[in-house]
Symmetry: C2
Subunit: 232 residues, 2 copies
């Protein structure tokens, strides 16, 4: 527990993981300031969901920063590559998915760091998770520790001895455990959005890796997922 | 020296330091790919100068990424604070200047990292300099080493054993030494732009810290600065 008025910046995508993370930051005693990065992703509906989530949680602030990562090239989430569908856990395992955006978490954490220093925030929360996305190098604990060193050495606050912590409370949880934590914290699951390839109506496809992992997580947790899907 | 066809990403602002840095990257044998970050700075003329510099150097590519850092708050370079004028070296020393943009170099290096991974580049070059800007925490060697760890741990290339190096060849040079290096490499000084507070006509003020440091550097190097200033 920390002082009730301490600020934390939460990287909020509007997805399940970042929403549960935001609720955990509040439970840890922080006043949360949400930061959503709009990066030219196909699932732009995320930004709208993030606004709804931030409002529902009563965040102290919510900023949206636009960075056009398409200018930098790469990845199915920002370019016109096909999003893989209907892959089993085995098919997903042991590779870096093509949905990997180069250095995405480094960019997101850098933006959060700038916002945290402006707000004199004590911590940055983000929803990285090592188990489901083992293929993403920037979701590993050693990456997070390395970024904390950058935060300590590269900011005025760090130099002055008030290092900004990077907390990834979901890092070691399964998706089912994340769902259970969210349920305990009364997270507005109905507002969250996880699909990599929603329809034009914003409805989740139910078939991309992200949808499959989410639905398996709810099933395993024995919790009903209130979000509608394009397939049963 | 490296293989002639290896790629390097150069963070190019269009200023003196980053332009000399780009020329050094070419001398080191790299094909350079310039990356300019347009971050809502008042000195937007920098972006135009960066384009002219990249073209003059014959860069393999030049991308401009827009990130509105004003959304994140802070700093005289992005907000409506007054830029300090006519300060002596003594007045500039030993403090973090108000022109400090929180986590700016971390953000810039993160974007360069994403671009470097997309291009399979071997190095990122940037023009950080420890002597003139001793007040910026993110211009120190320990910061750069910490960022290299992030680059190694947070990218697919790093995981695969092809870590991306971060090179700051000007880090320990005085401004006069930078000018001399630029002269040796036939850098187009006339295209470069260093002013924090140019007039509406784009002419450098000659009085902000950046102009004063630049002009002192040219004077000490015994090289004529071809850029016009609003004051003598």
């Amino acid at each position: 527990m920390t002082h009730p008025q301490s600020n934390a910046v939460v990287l909020l995508s509007g997805g399940l993981d970042s929403t549960v993370t935001a609720a955990i930051a509040q439970q840890d005693g922080f006043r949360i300031h949400c930061l959503t990065v709009s990066y030219g992703q196909r699932h732009g509906v995320e930004v709208l969901r993030a606004q709804a989530v931030a409002a529902a949680l009563g965040a102290g602030g919510h900023v949206i920063v636009t960075v056009d990562l398409r200018a930098l090239g790469g990845s199915a989430l920002t370019a016109d590559l096909a999003v893989p569908k209907d892959r089993t856990e085995r098919e997903r395992a042991g590779e870096i998915p093509i949905t990997y955006v180069p250095a995405r978490n480094t960019i997101f954490l850098s933006l959060a760091l700038a916002h945290a220093e402006t707000l004199q925030a004590q911590a940055i929360y983000f929803g990285a998770n090592v188990l489901d996305y083992s293929g993403y190098p920037d979701c590993r604990p050693e990456f997070i520790r390395a970024f904390e060193a950058v935060a300590r050495l590269g900011t005025k606050m760090g130099v002055e001895g008030r290092a900004i912590e990077v907390r990834a409370p979901l890092l070691m949880l399964s998706k089912a455990e994340i769902v259970r934590r969210g349920q305990e914290l009364n997270v507005p699951f109905e507002l969250t959005h996880s699909c990599y390839d929603p329809g034009v109506d914003g409805v989740a496809c139910g078939r991309c890796d992200s949808c499959r992992i989410r639905r398996e997580g709810f099933r395993q947790a024995g919790v009903e997922d209130p979000v509608p899907y394009a397939i049963l």
